[in-house]
Subunit: 334 residues, 2 copies
């Protein structure tokens, strides 16, 4: 597994707004103890609650890796960033990026990394070969977050569950399947970037056999109801071999992400489809509740919405990030 | 789309038995009009009903491509084959292979192809970038073969359907999604080798909008019930946007391919799961029948088995290769 050297120095670059710094914001939110500072360039409009540093100050503060925590249109490594990234390598830091463009395809970065003995981590691109999945039972317990759509908060829900479980002394590890998650976890595999034959195999590799009372909290991707990405979601579902599923939903979404003509599935229908498909490798699987991302709702609507949904589904429905994931954790034991 | 230059000269190499020459056998079975001859090496134990030729004789007979029609353990390009493959390039032929090893990774072959202006087609490895699928409706009609397991005869059933439809004057084109199919079709895309995010997109690309009365017969892969490959099968199902499905089954199979502990799904259950999942992008989809691969059954059992299955499912159940696909073609119009 990719294992990034902590702590991190967060490169926010010339982010045009806070959303463009989504990766940096996520890392700081979930792993504040790993973040020593932020590096901003002139014109940057994103701001983290972290000391502002030069590369050299970050190195002195002990940073092991500079995280490219900013995205731009096209996912390219901007020309303007290169001097700073080169300085980070020269100051002894590794580089990690979840952008589409590879750090290792940039000749200056590659040569500097070689010269300085530093490493470049392109976390969106799997750096190893996987076996095909087998579906054979393995020890340990696993929870998978699934969703009605892409980008509804599966990663945040997974991390909130990890936090709540650890707070109760439960052995739990977040297992990252996307680029931001990989930076937050310090490792993982970007499952939508593996070769199609190996989706379930990569997921089995990511969440191997473990202690009988250990939980892997596996970050889901896409949705069985998203026509672009359902194959990834199904491979993940089969590879995860989950004991329990948590359905993730974003109530203000008016259509499937990127497809203006396609409505969202019903939550109950989506739960049924996921449980039914998951049974192939985990016959006893059950859905323990719904993680609702209420961040886009008027605050006054939230309680009523959750109460009504809970009544309809007869399952706990909570926003595990805005409040806490305790009621979901209560349901882990059958 | 990869488009191979016909006619073909079939390289059977040193195949240790007929099964090792599966690709050559399949090409000759379905495209005899494209096959000018076979090239065998000393020790070859496979035999095709084709004139035996040297490379030079094949070139003189007009061959455009030498098809590597033999597989060995590991899917490597054997050292012993290289002289013959080089001679083919020098004689003006292109090379096509569905092996895991790439022709283009072999320095001698690459250099010879460059020097002679010939092309190397590694049909297992997609040679282009795809967009993600959209699920948007497109013109034309499409049939997809699906299966209870891998390797149950989806390609043969698809080709038998194409033959039967063309015999009735129906506009029909086989669309290949695996390496042998690509050689038989002269083009296609090996969907299990594309990056996971693009499975449905690659399938949409493979079977684009067409005349309203034109049928694409799309070769299925894997099975929704195979824990190693179901993600590929689902992406294919969504990308195909099929009007009709044909379920493929091999009755002597005692367990899912490669997984001795895993029983096959029931055929009715498998039909339901496929139709249900396919509705996401093709709301009116229906399964018109079952293509049974009876090649492993005692001949005296076949009729009774098919009659009983047909009675259970209330759908036509035929071996479209051993007999013909006419009864399935009858069901294409609702």
């Amino acid at each position: 597994m990719t294992v990034l050297r902590t702590p991190y120095l967060l490169f926010v670059g010339d982010a045009r707004d806070q959303l463009a710094a989504k990766t940096a914001v996520g890392v700081l939110h979930w792993r504040p103890e790993w973040c020593v500072g932020q590096v901003r360039l002139p014109g940057c409009r994103a701001e983290l609650a972290l000391p502002e540093m030069t590369i050299e100050q970050g190195a002195k503060a002990g940073a092991g890796t500079l995280i490219v925590g900013v995205a731009n249109r096209g996912g390219v490594i901007a020309e303007d960033w290169t001097d700073t990234l080169v300085r980070a390598l020269e100051a002894g830091l590794d580089l990690a990026s979840g952008l589409h463009d590879r750090l290792s395809d940039n000749p200056r970065l590659r040569q500097t990394a070689e010269r300085c003995g530093r490493r470049l981590f392109d976390v969106r691109h799997p750096d190893r070969v996987f076996d095909v999945g087998t579906g054979s039972p393995r020890a340990g317990k696993r929870l998978l977050t699934v969703g009605t759509d892409c980008s509804v908060g599966k990663m945040y829900a997974s991390l909130a569950l990890e936090t709540a479980m650890r707070a109760r002394g439960i052995k739990a590890d977040f297992r990252a399947t996307g680029q931001t998650g990989i930076v937050i976890a310090g490792g993982g595999v970007s499952v939508d970037a593996v070769v199609a034959d190996f989706i379930s195999g990569a997921t089995e590799w990511l969440s191997p056999a473990n202690d009988p009372d250990h939980w892997d909290i596996i970050e889901g991707q896409g949705s069985l109801f998203h026509p672009s990405f359902a194959g990834v979601s199904l491979g993940l579902l089969h590879g995860a071999q989950a004991d329990v599923l948590v359905m993730c939903h974003e109530p203000t979404r008016t259509h499937m992400r990127g497809l203006p003509d396609r409505p969202l599935p019903g939550i109950a229908e989506c739960i049924d489809a996921n449980v039914s498909a998951a049974r192939l490798t985990s016959p006893g699987v059950r859905c323990i509740g719904v993680a609702v991302n209420t961040s886009g709702m008027p605050p006054s609507d939230v309680d009523g919405y959750l109460a009504k949904l809970e009544d309809n589904l007869s399952l706990p429905c909570v926003d595990p990030v805005a409040t806490d994931a305790g009621r979901l954790v209560d349901c882990l034991s059958p």
